[in-house]
Amino acid sequence: MTARRTLPEIGRHGALILLLGFLLLPVWVMLKTSFTPYDRLYVWPPEFLPTSLDLGNYARALFGQYRVIEALGNSLIIAGTAAAISTGFGFLGAYGLARFRFTGRTTLLFLVLATQMLSPVVIVIPLYEFMIATGLLDTYLSVILCDTALATPIAIWLLHGFLLGIPRELEEAAMVDGCSRLKSLWHIILPVVRPGLAMTAIYTFVHAWSDLIFPLVMLTDDGKWPVTLALTRFVGENVIRWDYLMAAGVVTTLPAAVLFALVQKHFTRGLVAGAVKG
């Protein structure tokens, strides 16, 4: 029994390690460089491992004038809020589109998708003028709104796909029993679509987290700069402080990684069998 199982197991681990190797290569570059002082950056042959675990770069990058810690806080506020609103709105929108038949439903669905098809390059300026006109310029809200407006359609599409796979019978059974739709939504659908919600929350969070163009344009007060903008501080006219940049990069990736570790369990738990059939 065990012999027959270990071979596929080794195969699985092997394949996953190969995949991870590919995915983590640049992350490794970032990690290694973050421990490298500037004068050892350009040695040949390149060093694949840091020669010492010197935290100098981290100290300068985080606490010096680059203020990366502050930027991290800003990013969390912006991305967190955008993710929460997008996921919530996305779920509502997806539910409305998945569960009801009405004329113009498909058109609406495609209009929602259409928002993704316009290059951000051309959208920036009108949105900038909108924020100026509403007096929202240089506020967290301006960036949150932009990120949410672009992420909600995706949330709707993602969750729409998930909801389509969940049979109507699920909440309709409950409604027959006297439950209002809202209640059945909360108690029955929500738990079942949890992997989809987790997925959507992660997606919208990352989407807002990695956004550079909207904060660049909307936020002049650099006390509000999220991490994507803060990283540009390390790029000089000719000289780029790779050592500090990579240290800042490592610190930037950590919170998101931690977040995933936490949210993971929601998104890997499976359907409760039996509720689907019959």
Partner: protein, 308 residues
């Protein structure tokens, strides 16, 4: 008064039905649609408006006359534009294809709990949260034509005698940008497909296995069809995003060498913020929009067809 009552009652009832969370979609749709319309409505209209007007910011004396289809005709008549279009389609297909295959593979490998799975999953998502600035730069360090890590390994082991300039040759630059773009998008694919796979009830698969079906058969007959809605959504979204991908190519090659990686988003950017010709860049954006719309409708048709 008496005459009015019977007339208003059905109207009020109709209105009540329109907003009933039990029966109507609008209570759910109102908020999200409002947000999207409020923020994106104006920009979208503006883009369409600009595409049919002459808008060159560095020549304000030329005015903003209505030019109808002129911007579009000018594009279509330029062989360079059609080449860019073709390049973008091929580039997108390669990247989405790579993401799909590797993503699906990864999702299948990770769908069942096994020791170490949590570690794999957390690590898997790191490319996604690596800031684009750093990702592009790190890949450069790996692929650098003189002192990159790949070249270092190949040279030191004696596999090659001269370093390979990946970003300095047309074909390898194309492949390199596809690789980096795919790298960025694989985590999303894996995650979404995994979530989709989660919904496939275990008992169906168990039953099939007990009946003697081989894994490949189970995959083709059961998993794939049940995964279809999520799969199609995933591929569709990925296609739309990849087509508009700018953040990967720009830091690596800026569209070079000699236009080998100059996709439409690059051209749109250069037209807008280089030539400040917003009429033409908006027209390009509308062309992109039209293509993606057509592709989406095609996918939708296939998806619907599959459901039958």
């Amino acid at each position: 008064m008496v005459a009015l009552a019977p007339a208003t009652a059905p109207r009020r009832a109709a209105r009540a039905r329109l907003w009933s969370p039990d029966k109507a979609p609008w209570p759910y749709l109102a908020l999200p649609l409002l947000l999207i319309a409020a923020l994106l409505g104006l920009p979208v209209l503006r883009i369409f408006w600009q595409s049919v007007h002459h808008v060159v910011l560095t020549a304000p004396w030329e005015g903003n006359d209505f030019v109808g289809a002129e911007n579009f005709l000018a594009l279509v008549q330029e062989p360079a534009f059609l080449r860019t279009l073709q390049l973008t389609v091929v580039w997108t297909a390669c990247s989405v294809g790579a993401k799909l295959l590797i993503g699906l593979g990864g999702a299948l490998l990770l769908q069942r709990p096994f020791p170490g799975r949590k570690v794999y999953l957390t690590l898997l998502l790191l490319p996604w949260v690596t800031p684009a600035v750093i990702a592009a730069v790190s890949w450069r360090w790996v692929m650098d034509g003189q002192s990159g890590w790949i070249n270092a390994v190949l040279l030191v082991t004696g596999a090659i005698r001269e370093p390979i300039s990946f970003l300095g040759q047309e074909t390898t630059a194309f492949i390199a940008t596809v690789v980096v773009d795919a790298w960025l998008g694989i985590p999303f694919m894996v995650m979404t497909l995994m979530a989709g796979l989660q919904r496939i009830p275990d008992d169906i698969i168990e039953a099939a296995r007990i009946d003697g079906a081989r894994p490949v058969q189970i995959f083709r007959r059961i998993t794939l069809p049940l995964l279809r809605p999520v799969l199609m959504t995933c591929v569709l979204l990925s296609t739309v995003w990849t087509f508009n991908s700018f953040q990967v190519i720009w830091p690596l090659t800026k569209g070079g060498p000699a236009g080998a990686t100059a996709t439409l988003p690059i051209q749109i950017y250069e037209t807008a913020f280089g030539s400040f010709d917003f009429g033409t860049s908006s027209a390009m954006a509308v062309v992109v929009f039209a293509i993606l719309m057509a592709v989406s409708l095609l996918y939708w048709r296939v998806l619907k067809g599959g459901e039958e």
